[in-house]
């Protein structure tokens, strides 16, 4: 004879089972992501067939065809792989220099009111200036080599990282620092063991936003007399009405930027495992 609770489940257990069964039937979020991508691709294919103008809207299949052509060949003598490597190097170089400067500035502004008063208006003033507006000045001041290109990426990264860092450090609860102080921690120890770990989630969010900003400035950066790169590819293809190649460049930028963002997220999960769980 079965125990009574097996024959007639208690109402609490029943609810739990119902929930579990519903949860079991719940579709994986990846399904919806793939569904939305497939939906967009289908709508794009249908629209391109309706418009029937490869200049206005090439079909996804035409873009894939162009991508294959570029992967195994070249566009105007430059291979797609060369474009990918040079752009990634440019973006990462500008990003890491900008990240270092932004972190230092952000920390300095958070810790010292005078530095904040000196630097903050400049950063806030520079932040809304679009990357394209810098190009004529950078060319006049620094010519057309690699330096102005990387500098433009640094200029894009610094405000985002410094503001995020300052905000994250200033957002750390003062009682935490005071508690550490009361237990005899030095100023350096408080900074290293209390303030920085507590501010790290905010700093990493700023760092992630800055990578995306770097990639979104790339097309402007490679307007400065570039000879290769994904931004150059987009400009060049647009000048020759090769819209499918423009799409290839855009997809490559999106894919690399997404991969780097995933990498940073993984790093974030390792460094600040408590983020979002409190």
């Amino acid at each position: 004879m079965n125990p009574p609770h097996k024959m007639l489940p208690a109402s609490g257990e029943k609810t739990a089972r119902t929930k579990q069964s519903l949860r079991g039937r719940r579709t994986h979020p990846l399904f919806f992501s793939l569904l939305s991508i497939a939906g967009v691709l289908l709508a794009w294919e249908a629209l391109s067939r309706l418009i029937h103008s490869p200049v206005l809207l090439p079909s996804p299949s035409a873009v894939v065809h162009a991508a294959i052509g570029l992967a195994f060949g070249s566009f105007q003598g430059v291979s797609l792989w060369d474009d990918i490597v040079i752009s990634t190097v440019r973006v990462l170089l500008g990003y890491f220099i900008g990240l270092a400067i932004g972190l230092l500035l952000g920390l300095a502004m958070a810790m010292n009111r005078t530095i904040k008063a000196l630097v903050d208006p400049l950063i806030e003033g520079l932040r809304p200036v679009p990357p394209l507006a810098w190009i004529p000045l950078l060319v006049i001041w620094f010519g057309i080599g690699e330096f102005p290109k990387v500098l433009l990426l640094v200029v894009t990264t610094v405000p985002i990282v410094s503001i995020a860092t300052m905000g994250a450090v200033l957002g750390v609860q003062t009682d935490m620092a005071m508690a550490a102080r009361s237990m005899g921690a030095s100023g350096r120890q408080v900074m290293l063991h209390v303030v920085l770990p507590a501010a790290l989630p905010g700093i990493l969010t700023g760092a992630r936003i800055a990578t995306a900003a770097g990639w979104s400035s790339l097309v402007a950066v490679e307007m400065i007399a570039a000879e290769r790169g994904l931004g150059w590819l987009i400009w060049q293809a647009s000048s020759y009405l090769e819209t499918s190649v423009v799409f290839v460049g855009m997809v490559c930028i999106a894919a690399i930027a997404l991969s780097i963002d995933r990498l940073l997220r993984a790093m974030e999960a390792k460094l600040v495992p408590w983020k979002g769980k409190v």
């Binding site: 162009a66 052509g69 000879e227």
Partner: protein, 330 residues
Amino acid sequence: MHLTTSRKFTRILGLALVASLAAVACGTVTAQAATDTPALTVGYFKGPNPETVGQKYGLFASNIRFSSVESGVTAFQEMVGGSMQLAGGIGTPPLALALLKSMPLKVIYVEYTFSQALVVGPAIKGPQDLVGKTIAVTTGTTGDQSFSTYLKKNGVNPSSVKTINMAGTAMLGAFKRGDIAGGYIWDPVRSAMLAAGGHALETTTPFAAVVASEAVIKDHPAAIQSYVCAIAKANDFIQTHHQEALKVFTALLNGDQATAEQVFKTREYLSPKDAMTRWMGNNATNLAGAIKDVVAWANAKSATPMTQLPDAHHIIDASFVTAAANGACK
């Protein structure tokens, strides 16, 4: 209860959308039926050309709205998108690209010719001196195509010269700084680079054309004829009212009258008869030949080059210029 309200709202929204679309469609039809002068958007370059002078002196009909463009290709992209119906100042490379891409466009008037040059520093004496140097061109323009042709003509391997893409204004700054050895460019940058110590290795005289979308030509031929006549009138005004035109050009160059006069000297504004005689007469033989020469160059730059090049006559409609030359504008 909530669901019912939501459904009602969706229905009302749907009905409103259908009603608005119907109203817009009716309005458009009525507007087109009521007037034989459709609103036309014309792409143009802010420069010493009939479009700029004509706007200043009110030579165009009120249905014409001008919108400045950065390049011929940009104008074509807008025309294919439907936001623009005509464009002026278009050189041969965009026309060749349009032909290769089977874009529904036609050249209706060769409106003027202009001067462009390969301006280089004093150290470069001939084509062979270009090897290992950096030369700037604006991608997809007559300068770009003419430089490729110059290298080919003089037996210089294109890969031995570093060719970079640059807009005219940036080119002047880069030339003065010594970042580039030269550039293939038109006025006013050409004059400014010459004044900055450069000299011309080669000077060419390409043409600039008016292009219209096939749909507008088909639906509103009278409006297109009227526009061709207005351009002819503006060109005539530039020839006969030198001082007034010079004033417009000088204002465009921020008061630099000397360069404006120089630009004036290097441009020729063509009447419909001139356009017919030189380019568009005799089944547009000369114009088709000029475009054909550039088509091969544009095809080589394409991601998917064609094996058989299209006939350049497909992109030419000489009927409006012919009519204008035969007195249709009176």
